[in-house]
């Protein structure tokens, strides 16, 4: 495992009190694999990734848990040391990581000289190499970010992230803002790079079809916790947690025969409140009294390290069959 996250807890201090944005999340990234961290807004996926990089916003702090990179435990200060050289970041909107007043080439060179200690000449050569790697013409190194299209900016952000040859890439919704054809081009580039450079990658996304296309493993988050994880094929084809089942039903599928999308009624809980029991129980069609009383730990299910945090996991096959019927999700 290149990255291990155990029982991570991140708290934000807000006017309304403490918000437990990540509340006991555990997952691991195997060497050379792409892991999709998937969930809806507010589930804690972005916060978890920011914590791994040590760049939480000012009111956020690590309130517990352990993060280990290549077997070495890293605290908040140590994490910052790893940034760029070992762990690099690709944001959703590359405009946020590119400065509009400098040329793109200069910004990449700066990472190489200031953080990588390279000479100006070496940095220039490496910048050309990096642009070539992500499919950009080196003639565009002298351009400003605004002269780039959305897809080109995203490629430039990937080039910059790869500058110092990190082994782990954290990408936060890197293709969400892009048009579908450009999105596909960037995803193909990411996969190609991951294979050629033997990168490990965490891909934060709300889009399970992006996970299905790109990722080897998936970690599903809900309300600050991991509810299910395992190999993508296994989790999407045979989800064990009712939230994953619901997400699958609600997600548009260009090729499916179903002509209806099934919503999950209600919304996620307020993470500023004290929460007892399973957090999905209020929306879950299969919830029983015991689900409201106590949580379920993420436990190994049948095979292939497929894990689910559901009290009724031993009935997962029956629940999955019932979940296929839209009537199951009808609000009473």
């Amino acid at each position: 495992m290149i990255l291990e996250v155990d029982d991570l807890r991140i708290h934000y201090a807000t006017q309304g009190g403490t918000v437990r944005a990540v509340d006991g999340a555990s997952f691991a990234v195997p060497e050379g694999k792409i892991v999709g961290l998937v969930g809806e807004s507010g589930c804690g996926k972005t916060t978890a990734v920011r914590a791994i990089m040590g760049v939480l916003s000012e009111n956020g702090r690590r309130a517990g848990g352990r993060i280990a990179f290549k077997g070495r435990v890293v605290d908040e200060a140590a994490t910052k040391q790893l940034l760029w050289r070992d762990i690099a970041y690709v944001p959703q909107s590359a405009m946020n990581s590119l400065d509009p007043v400098y040329t793109v080439g200069r910004q990449i060179a700066e990472v190489l000289t200031k953080r990588g200690g390279r000479s100006a000449a070496a940095a220039k050569a490496r910048a050309i190499e990096l642009f070539d790697l992500v499919g950009l013409s080196d003639r565009r190194l002298g351009d400003y970010p605004h002269q780039f299209s959305g897809g080109m900016r995203q490629r430039a952000a990937i080039a910059m992230a790869l500058a110092l040859e990190p082994s782990l890439l954290l990408a936060d919704e890197p293709v969400t803002a892009l048009d579908v054809i450009v999105q596909r081009q960037v995803l193909d580039t990411l996969r190609d790079l991951q294979q050629r450079l033997r990168l490990s990658m965490v891909m934060v996304t709300h889009d399970i079809s992006v996970v299905a296309y790109l990722c080897d493993e998936v970690v599903v988050m809900y309300a600050g916790q991991v509810v299910e994880s395992g190999p993508v094929r296994e989790v999407l084809a045979r989800p064990r947690h009712p939230y994953t089942m619901g997400l699958r039903n609600a997600f548009p599928d260009l090729l499916s025969d179903a002509l209806e999308l099934v919503p999950i009624y209600g919304g996620p809980p307020d993470l500023g409140a004290t929460l007892d029991g399973c957090r999905f129980a209020p929306r879950c069609p299969f919830a029983q009294d015991s689900c409201r009383a106590g949580t379920a730990a993420l436990a190994d299910a049948a095979a292939e390290s497929h894990r689910s945090a559901c009290r009724r996991d031993n009935e997962a096959d029956q629940l999955r069959a019932a979940a296929m019927d839209p009537a199951t999700w009808q609000h009473s």
Partner: protein, 325 residues
Amino acid sequence: MAALVELRDVSKHFPVARTLGELARGQHPVVRALDGVSFDIGAGDAVAIVGESGCGKTTLGRLMLKLAEPTGGSISFEGGELARLSGDKLKVFRRQAQLVFQNPFDSLNPRFTIYRAVAEPLRNAGVPTRQHAERVADAFRRVHLPDLERYLDRYPHQLSGGQLQRVVLARALVLEPRFLVADEPVSMLDVSVRAGILALMREVREAMGLTAVYISHDLALVRYLCERTIVMYLGGVVEDGPTDEIVRRPRHPYTRALVAAVPVPDPDQPRAPLPIHGNVPDAREPPSGCSFRDRCPHAMPRCAAEKPLLRVTGKGHYTACHLDL
């Protein structure tokens, strides 16, 4: 059924900043946001307009609601040309045609209560105040926001995204329009909530007999809303047909690329490699002839010389391509 909305050779050209050379030569460069768009929308139909950013779909929606004027061609609503509408006729049109905005978080005034937000179109249309409460209540019932009293005095920030989108829809429906244009109506919503809003839009449309245009970049999503889909590329319509056909047997090489690019949530469905390369060209300098030809794997000399027009390529299916489809 008779057409409710008719577009004939509609163009919208935006002037752009001129270079010194262009200034000196007296040239007036334009971006052709739309160029020669013609189609009809039947009363009661739900039509999707899909395409990538910059294809002109949002501009087209604005023109159909007379929120902007075309620079060429004509748009009619119930046989009356929009450009000629004025006075009372324009007021009637404004009541009958409504827009549902993309982002519910931005489209409601944060200082207005929910009641005021939904009642505002009534006030603007001159509906007597004594009718407002009942009309607002009707609109709320239509969008399934129960416990009316719970919401009316609240402010937008106190509602969830899904509730807000219902409020936005209620506001669009409060004047009981006949024609609705929704621009990316669910793109800001979470997956689990989005499905409910889509089902609601379908239900409302059927219940009220509305004619609706859904503008979206997401082909996978419009499948659940519309039986007909219009695909746009660089300001023009490239394909127009039954959604199911467009998805399962796309004719135009651009539509084929679009369909191939859409990711699906099933890892066991193999996705074909993307059949095209490159990016959408600059709308200031589109290629001659077919605007897609510089990226098209099947381009031939004729494509540069002659702009392909929409022609019949199936039942209710039209494609603008010179290929033998």
